[in-house]
């Protein structure tokens, strides 16, 4: 009786452990769904123009601070919009990072969309000029179910890429 009880106890405990270690399955995406991942970091323009100092002004500064171009540190807010088939998937105003708001702004979003052929357009304003589109790219992509489409900003070519 005692050993039967032990057998039952071990079986029940480890059946519970084995079951919950793999079941129930979790469904992350529907059969006809894909993922669009928007992810990039970009430094928006500074909030003001750099000012070039004259030779006299430079000499008036301590030696370690004699930088010809004096620029404001803070950067503009950055506006990003990702559109799929004329529907806005993502739109955000992104603040620069850093205590002095002088770092890059970062966009990161994973979006579930239906698989199939879609027109994508992305635009960004990083100059702080209202209504101006500083960067814009578009493409048509046929998304397979489960595909992960990554949209990012290529800093070397200064353009968005869909990959």
């Amino acid at each position: 009786m005692k050993y039967a009880g032990q057998l039952l106890a071990y079986a029940a405990f480890f059946a519970f452990v084995a079951f919950l270690s793999v079941r129930p399955e979790v469904r992350l995406l529907g059969d006809d769904e894909a993922i669009v991942s928007l992810s990039f970091s970009h430094a928006a323009n500074r909030i003001g123009e750099c000012q070039r100092l004259t030779q006299e002004e430079l000499l008036a500064l301590p030696p370690n601070m004699r930088i010809p171009d004096q620029c404001p540190r803070e950067r503009h807010l950055m506006q990003v919009e990702l559109i799929m088939d004329e529907q806005t998937l993502y739109a955000a105003t992104l603040a620069p990072t850093g205590l002095r708001s002088d770092g890059k702004a970062t966009a990161y979003q994973r979006l579930r969309v239906t698989a199939g052929t879609h027109d994508f357009r992305i635009r960004m304003n990083d100059s702080g000029v209202p209504g101006q589109i500083d960067f814009e790219d578009s493409t048509t992509i046929s998304l397979q179910p489960g595909q992960n489409l990554v949209v990012f900003f290529d800093p070397s070519n200064q353009q968005f890429r869909f990959q």
Partner: protein, 505 residues
Amino acid sequence: MIELLQSFARRLLWLPSRFLRWGFPGVENPMNHLGSLTIFFCWIVLISGIWLLIFFRTSVSGAFESLEYLTHQQWYLGGIMRSLHRYASDAMIVTIALHIFHEFSRNTYRVTRWFSWVAGLPLVWIVFILGISGYWLVWDELAQYVAITSSELLDAIPIFTSKMAANFLQDTSLSDRFFTLMAFLHLVGLPIFLVFGIWLHVFRLSSPRINPPKRLMAGTLLAMLVLALLFPAVSQDQANLAQAPQTLQLDWFYLHVFPLVQIWSPGWVWVLLTGISALILFAPWLPPGKAVKSAHVDLDNCNGCQRCADDCPYGAIQVVPRSDGKRYEHEVVVEADLCTSCGICVGACPTATPFRKRSPLVPGIDLPRSSAQVLKESIDEATATFPLVLSIACTGSPELAWLESNNKAVVAVSCVGQIPPSYLDYILSRNLSARILLTGCGGGCRHRFGMDWAEQRISRERDPNLRRRVGAHRIAMAWREPWSSLGGLKKQVAALEKQAQEDNR
């Protein structure tokens, strides 16, 4: 409110404990060894993990392939080790959860016992981080999901300037060095903190039980081996960052909050996790408990024999060089912060004897509220009518409540370990009662060793011993099995009364 919750927790634990009693009667019930079982699972995880480490390759493609090799080509050893590693880790979460629940239900985490409870919280976090980081190393679809989701969780903490999750969107952004870092964290960094955390968790306990009974260990290991052969742990499809997994077999023990990251948001998951952690962290003071008056030493009566220090379950008594110029080498000092006022030290003190003529009775170590003198007076009062059976029961126990409600002669003590054997001698040799019943704390002593020490003193295995002239057959002990009813106690009281009546004839 807390008492209600504790009572509810006891009721919830009653069912599994009753079920376990069939196979594990008495002290072998796994519900009495939840902490040591967790450490046993830790050992299995460590040893199996060392085997996996030998074959593990810390690179993007090598990680998955090396585990596939272990699982399929070397299934007879590597595969079994992998399964043991997985199932012991999962079982550990169950025993940790039950351990927390069990201690909460027994109210053994408050006042001076807060330290082990609070020190246990970082341990829980370390175990979870270890488990989650382990899933990264497999680099299958589950690892991909875990990597992205846990990065999203970390990115929600507003101290990082760039998004960690961005590293897991394209295969090109992932380097072999990442696996070296994760392997270091999982195999070296976190285990060091875990070992240190376990040490801290039991730091304030004297003679902590690190290992469960051998038969329980053997049975558990055997059961896990059978499980490893029947349902070996396997990887899911290899990670492919260009594809998002559609369905996953989730390990719900470690990853139960991950789906919430998608349903709610990483920020709200942090609110949930920090909220639960804060609740556990401050539980010992919700509401603040009454301060315990610690045991105190009377140097005039203390000869520095150290028995109290040996028996204290909390290491609250220190032996120090004599300070009063008496011829003894040592004296003892009570650390008030550690003392729970259980009285086990009084039970160990040879000077706590009711045969002493000096009045009032002042032993070398005593409790301020329930002193040796008060105990003697309580016994005298309870035996004024010469009851057939005198019961000595732990304060707050259901046993005491039942004895009192049934008008049985009973003396309440902080812990049965508080009663020195000389008091039992006093009751029986003076014929104050025909039989003595020691009872209380069904399902495990609240003060860890009270029942064990009482048994060993009566059976003359532990100092101070019960004197030979006392018939040990006249002393009975009724320790209820975990979560059993009071039926056994009722029967035992009736049997003792019957024996006493027969003696009188």
